[in-house]
């Protein structure tokens, strides 16, 4: 189980910066490749899950994204961070999947929202508080799943994965100057959706 934003390390991480690990992986060190994979694959899976809502599809996308990530390691710009680069691959894979299935990003969102909320877990020992918190989280993730893809991904990248505005601009391939306004618009729509849902509940 993984809680945001604690995605940076995993049990048994041998350490070293991502850039160092990339250099070692390119030099053929198998352990460096394994460490990079273990350090980032969970975040890749979670992003795919949050965009697709389906566990099996998310696993397929994350596996494929990791393979492409390693296949393109030779062209990686060392000035950039690994995670935004991997997220760009995940996002492209998700879009490819929608295209292959000839679905628009908004199709099947209610099922996706339900499936996504089933993957939520609670970690506290207080059942009453857990129930309230769980219901709130379910409402929020259901509303997120119902947002247009462009709005859902920017919120998820910022608020769950804790990416900086410049990293978000890189992943979404948009100017950094538009990140704040697009993010605010997405947050406003999410809030409006939650308020509308609250009134109907």
């Amino acid at each position: 189980m993984v809680e945001s934003p604690g995605l940076a390390t995993f049990a048994g991480d041998a350490g070293g910066s991502d850039q160092e690990l990339v250099d070692q992986a390119l030099a053929g060190r198998r352990e460096a490749t394994e460490t990079l994979a273990q350090r980032h694959r969970q975040a890749a899976y979670l992003l795919a899950l949050q965009l697709l809502g389906n566990r099996d599809d998310a696993m397929d996308v994350a596996q494929e994204a990791m393979l492409r990530f390693f296949a393109s390691l030779g062209t990686f710009d060392r000035e950039r961070r690994v995670q935004p680069w991997l997220f760009t691959i995940v996002r492209n894979q998700v879009r490819d999947l929608w295209r292959r299935r000839q679905r628009r990003p908004g199709d099947g969102l209610s099922e996706a929202g339900e499936a996504l909320t089933r993957q939520l877990v609670d970690l506290t020992a207080n059942p009453e508080a857990d129930l309230r918190r769980r219901e709130l989280k379910q409402r929020v993730w259901r509303a997120l799943a119902a947002l247009p893809a462009a709005k859902r991904e920017i919120i998820v990248l910022r608020d769950f994965h804790d990416l900086s505005y410049s990293d978000i601009a890189q992943v979404l391939d948009i100017p950094i100057g538009t990140v704040m306004s697009r993010l605010h618009g997405a947050r406003q729509q999410l809030r409006a959706q939650l308020q509308a849902g609250g009134r109907h509940a």
Binding site: E64, L136, R187, R191
Partner: protein, 147 residues
């Protein structure tokens, strides 16, 4: 957001304020405005609550054994790339030689038809499997996965 709140900056700055990404001047402007404007304060508090809910969400993760695959090494890809043409070349040569020898030694038409028919059938089956494999390779997401 009500327009009459007297805000003198773009509303998107409220998200920048929430994320702590504003430059000092903008941050101060927003902070001073929030001290006087209840509607903007309500909006920021609401956005902050949603952000906190997303941030603290936890998801069930797939078990480690589902992640046991790793990228295949360059050497294994090269070995596989060289191995297949060698196997195909060997099969063509051996079959061709066998057909030639059989043709030379057979004395009547029925024997020759049985020989050519059998080998052609096997060859076509092999070709069918090969073409299917080549087609699958282009779309198989697990082709570079090492179990």
């Amino acid at each position: 957001m009500p327009e009459q709140c007297g805000r003198t900056f773009g509303e998107a700055l409220l998200s920048g304020y929430l994320d702590g990404t504003l430059v000092q001047g903008d941050e101060q402007r927003v902070r001073l405005h929030l001290e006087d404007c209840e509607s903007c304060r309500t909006l920021v508090d609401g956005l902050a609550a949603v952000k906190e809910t997303i941030m603290t969400s936890t998801f069930d993760m797939p078990p480690d054994n589902e992640w046991s695959e790793g990228p295949s090494t360059g050497s294994s890809r090269v070995a596989r790339g060289v191995g297949w043409p060698l196997v195909i070349g060997w099969a063509v040569l051996v079959c061709g030689y066998a057909v030639w020898e059989g043709w030379q030694e057979s004395e009547n038409l029925v024997e020759r038809l049985i020989l050519v028919g059998g080998v052609s059938g096997l060859g076509l089956l092999f070709l069918g499997v090969l073409l299917d494999r080549l087609k699958a390779m282009k779309t198989d997401p697990y082709r570079e996965v090492q179990k």
